[in-house]
Amino acid sequence: MKNMDEGLQIRPGRAKFSDDASDTLLLARIARGDRDALRELYTVYYHPLLRFIYRVTGQLELAQEGINDVMLVIWRSSESFGRRSTVATWIMGIAYRKALKLLEGSRRWTDRFASVDFDAAIERSEAAAEPTDDADLRDLLDQALRHLSPEHRAVVELTYFYGCSYDEIAVIANCPVNTVKTRMFHARAKLRKLVPKLGKDSPAT
């Protein structure tokens, strides 16, 4: 049997996470109880889901737990996929709900980090040495994202890493399109304050 690690790429920036036609076929096989199909779908979605749930929850443990929770839902209710969206959008919607639920359950342990004072974070960000390379910008961004709400982080991630349209994000987050735009608007404003470097041309450009 093919090694699951072979040829695994997260394929960042694609407008779609994978090929919808082949995902639909896999889902049909899964609905018939085909475990090989589940394995194939797992291989395709493992890293996109790991990253997404990690981004929303900020916890590797939750991300690792969350993937299998999502896959279990797919295994049990693949026949309920109503084709109202692509398979990828449907799966990311399940992941979004699972991520928020896992995060809610772990809050008692993570509040310390979630409640860090926003103003203090801005101060630290401004006091930090001028970023010298792209890696520094990514680090600052990584920290800044932690100061957004999980819902805002999800919209930023879905827009820029997964290349989703606002319509797709509205389906994934089960909210009106205007809410998606508003969340993105506020997330951008907060990131601009936390990472002033985003507004400046990097030395390399």
């Binding site: 090694n3 699951m4 690690d5 695994l8 997260i10 920036g13 407008a15 609905a31 109880g33 475990r35 797992y42 291989t43 493992y46 890293h47 790991l50 990253r51 990690y54 900020g58 916890q59 590797l60 443990e61 939750l62 991300a63 690792q64 993937i67 299998n68 279990l72 295994w75 049990r76 026949e79 772990s106 342990w109 993570t110 980090f113 860090v116 630290r124 792209d134 890696a135 910008l137 990514r138 680090d139 961004l141 920290q143 930023v156 991630e157 827009t159 820029y160 890493f161 290349g163 989703c164 349209s165 606002y166 735009k181 508003t182 608007f185 951008r188 990131l191 985003l198 507004g199 041309d201």
Partner: protein, 211 residues
């Protein structure tokens, strides 16, 4: 007329112009607005930088094999609440079993809240029972890393491995008092994430101190 758009609306839509998902007249309208709006052009550049930085951000790359094996074991367990297509004839049994499943779920939750048993040959040190408030982080090392290298990397950031590896390769590391502040933890995570021996470093869910 058809391409006119209010500044606020265009400004809101910029992320989807940047990611290439704006289409048709909406795209035309935003592009037309951009030609005459300096703040929106600046914002467009900023959003392009944000997208580039996010896309270049290294993904968490951990082998799916072990994780899939765990899922397979979960599937192999009796899942009476699962109503697969072929099993629908047993709806009455499923209803009965669902009550049991709820109990199993509750038990699962309780077990989840209890600190995990370490794998054989794993770390379990005095720091586990330390009362001091210490920050804890999760670290996954590259496959080729030796035990000595692992210890070195962790000691280098003033940490100590307190448990792990889990089945999925995750170690929990306690940082000493000097590295427990929020900014210090971020600095440690930054250093670890750039260490070629480290595949992943992030804040841990593990409870602190004696909790």
């Amino acid at each position: 007329m058809s391409s006119s758009i209010e500044h606020q609306h265009a400004f809101e839509l910029l992320p989807w112009l940047v990611n290439g998902r704006l289409e048709g007249s909406e795209r035309d309208a935003v592009e037309a607005h951009l030609r005459s709006c300096l703040p929106c052009r600046r914002e467009l550049k900023e959003q392009q930088r944000l997208r580039t930085a996010l896309r270049e951000h290294p993904a968490v790359h951990i082998s799916p094999q072990t994780s899939f094996d765990r899922l397979s074991r979960r599937l192999a367990e009796p899942e009476p609440a699962t109503v697969r297509p072929a099993a629908r004839g047993f709806a009455a049994f499923a209803r009965f079993a669902a009550v049991g499943a709820a109990g199993v779920a509750l038990l699962g939750l309780l077990l989840w809240l209890v600190p995990r048993e370490p794998q054989p040959g794993t770390y379990r040190t005095l720091a586990d029972s330390a009362a001091a408030s210490v920050a804890r982080i999760d670290v996954v090392f590259a496959d080729s890393v030796t035990a000595a290298e692992r210890e070195h990397v962790i000691a280098d950031v003033g940490g100590e491995i307190v448990s792990g590896p889990t089945e999925l390769g995750r170690y929990t590391v306690a940082l000493d008092g000097g590295h427990s502040g929020d900014g210090d933890v971020a600095d440690v995570l930054r250093r670890l994430s750039r260490d070629p021996h480290v595949r992943f470093a992030g804040l841990s869910l593990a409870p602190e101190g004696t909790q």
